[in-house]
Symmetry: C3
Subunit: 332 residues, 3 copies
């Protein structure tokens, strides 16, 4: 807990309002309550600012007069936010094997595991060798955690889940703010990973925690090996993601989506329910209509591919040379 | 071991034949013997069914009259198969450090390793810290296992093999059957991973076990970091696979293939001997002729790429507009 | 240390010069001193050979008369080099928990860690559970190593670094020489990984050591999850690399580059400062001009993609059919 005065000093902000209020945490601009801090970055969130219920808002001076609560005025809002997140990050490293406060019910625990403070492990779980479960993790019933898995602080895992070897759950998201010298400042990710029931997660897959809110893997999801699930991703019920796919930050997948191996989904993309993405495709826009989507270059003899690429990279010139207009094509 | 009656009950099948026969395991339709169960999914395997030697076959009612042995008749064959695999899955978690039944000959074993029941480790091996070797694994001579590796039950590794840190060998394949409510049911993978001699495997690579038969990495193969080798893949002798490549389920690579980094090979693809795949390419068909193959979009200035994509996605309309027929091109 | 006579015998080379000189190590042809061995593979390095300061050079007979120092003459230079690297590879497996020679200053060390001989860990570091730090590793101050990380022998890590769970630092590079029977011979990688200050590295990322010189991650770099950094890569200051990207061997990235998720950079590529690569793009040539670059196929409905691919793979035939010459386009 910090006073607003203390926070203003740390991020070098001009404080407008009550310097003595106590800030207990950070929340999004839509959910923050009067003991929480939030931020508004840019004019397009002006309406959100007007309705904000937060104890204080980090913003820049152009938006100050719209602010209905205490304000921390800075030049670079995102950078100030990045710095302030570290104040609320919990220290997580356990320094003993199984902490006495951990509640473990009839679980099978293999050697060389670390189980942190206030961890709860349900009935009939199996925790294989060299698993690290940090403080405040909750695990349901009949869940199997295979060797060399790391589950970081505060994450929760449902019933009948299988976590394959080498998986990392709750790693930091890849969120960084740049200062004027182009140096990066990490954002401390304060959200968790929440995994539902009947989920399976493949070997060496990584799932990052959310920035403020949680990364969510809903019931019945299947994730293969070496998949990357970034911060704040939501994977809808019964979706399946094949190996080496990468789901970027803040993507939302609907129910029963099937993402082929090696597919990449760009940041902040939404997929509707029942979307199928062929392996190795790149999803560079929202897909709101169910169906099967694809996008890659088929394999060719290398010599043929070289001839193809020459013309491919000149397609716009060819169109111009042939005097083809895009609208002519669209009329067809 | 289960009687056919017990299995029929578990998967809710209609049993036609001898309910009392004992089933000792699951095998493929081509290899199952009279104490084993198999499945036939679809009419295209009718001839296989006629010649089957299995103790019993899971099939649907249309194929029942062709069945020369005991039958378990169900509506969804693949789902029934998925459920039955779990009956024959071995429990694998070791609950002590080095099991007294493990046979270890002059190996160097670092701290915090788990070595399971009936493991055999050959002469002059080195097992680094935090390695987990589950029950019934066999390792040859002069093999080096680096830190934090997980080798799951029953897999075998040859002589002079190097397994880099964080590798997972024998993880479950990504095989799942969907029920009518679109929920996934995992298939318990009963095969192993069999790795030959003089193989090296890069850091954090994952190799899944086979569904019924084994995933095979033949002698002399080189695999780089973060590679995914799915269930039932066969990698031919002296092939090399560069980092972050993904080889999907049931692919077969010939001898001396070279797969570039980040390449993806779709499921059930066969590559002949001496195939070279450029990095980042996607192999979407069988390649039966040796040679060098490629398929990706070369890098461009982003603005140029945007102009290229517009026309690329309209190639079929351009062809129509210009009244070009594919057969005209093929005549050339 | 070996005499040149011993080395000649091991690699089956014809020795020309002083058989008794002592060789203490291997270095590049530009940096080797008179107690070091190097190699020259091919005529294009003739000028380098003329200026070499090495104690001895592995080369083939065509270049022998240009050699100003002792020579080991072989048919296959690269294969001979691969074999000789193993003579100078340090054995690295630690067989106790924390070696008494390790210098650890006020660090927090969680359970089940292995810390090797002559490791130096600076002030206020945190080493989480199941971390393996091999001999001669150096770690700066205020660095956090998360669970299940492997840091292999001799690597160095700066101040204020965060290493996420499951990371592997210092794995062998993917360098292999082929003999006449097409069998692969691994090169023992003798370089290290050198990581600067204020770096963060994401979960399950792998960074290979250099062949002779070091892989370098400069100050302020941000690397996401499941990224592959190959041997001898140099990542310039304040660059950022998103998840599942793969940077191939001997690439050099300038300062402040931003590499999108899933991007692949081919071997020996150089990127200037301030290059942005869109995710999922493949960089197949050097980029010397700052800017934003892209290259992939946008996602389409699968049926539309199939129509697009047909024409794409016939672009050269279309151009021929329409009688378009590349130079006509270039004139525009």
């Amino acid at each position: 807990m910090y006073t607003l005065r203390e926070i203003a000093k740390i991020i070098n902000a001009k404080l407008v309002g009550d310097a003595n209020i106590k800030i207990t945490g950070i929340a999004t601009s839509l959910s923050a309550n009067q003991t929480q801090l939030t931020y508004i970055n840019g004019n397009k969130y002006k309406q959100t600012l007007i309705n904000v219920k937060a104890g204080a808002v980090i913003l820049n001076k152009e938006l100050l007069k719209k602010c209905p609560t205490n304000a921390l005025v800075v030049d670079d809002v995102y950078l100030a936010f990045a710095k302030v997140t570290h104040l609320f990050k919990k220290q997580t490293v356990s320094c003993q094997g199984i902490h006495p406060s951990a509640k473990i019910n009839h679980a099978k625990i293999a050697p060389n595991c670390t189980i942190g403070k206030d961890v709860v492990i349900g009935n009939h779980c199996t925790i294989a060798s060299n698993v690290v479960i940090e403080d405040n993790v909750t695990i349901g019933n009949h869940t199997l955690i295979q060797p060399n898995v790391s589950i970081l602080q505060g994450c929760s895992i449902g019933n009948n889940v299988v976590i394959s070897p080498g998986v990392v759950i709750g790693s930091e998201g890849f969120g960084n703010a740049q200062d004027q010298q182009k140096h990066w400042h990490s954002i401390a990710h304060l959200g968790y990973v929440v995994i539902g029931n009947n989920v399976s997660i493949g070997a060496n897959t990584t799932i990052d925690r959310g920035t403020i809110e949680d990364t969510q893997i809903h019931n019945g999801v299947r994730i293969d090996n070496l998949v990357h699930i970034a911060h704040n991703v939501i994977i809808g019920q019964d979706s399946a993601i094949a190996a080496t796919a990468a789901i970027s930050g803040s993507c939302t997948l609907g129910k029963r989506c099937m993402i082929g191996g090696g597919a990449a989904i760009a940041g902040h993309i939404s997929l509707a329910d029942d979307i199928i993405i062929t392996g190795a495709s790149t999803v560079d826009r929202n897909l709101s209509e169910q169906g099967h989507y694809t996008g890659f270059t088929s394999i060719s003899k290398h010599q043929k591919w070289k001839r193809t690429q020459v013309w491919l990279l000149n397609l716009d010139k060819i169109a111009h040379y042939l005097n083809i207009k895009l609208k002519k094509l669209k009329e067809k």
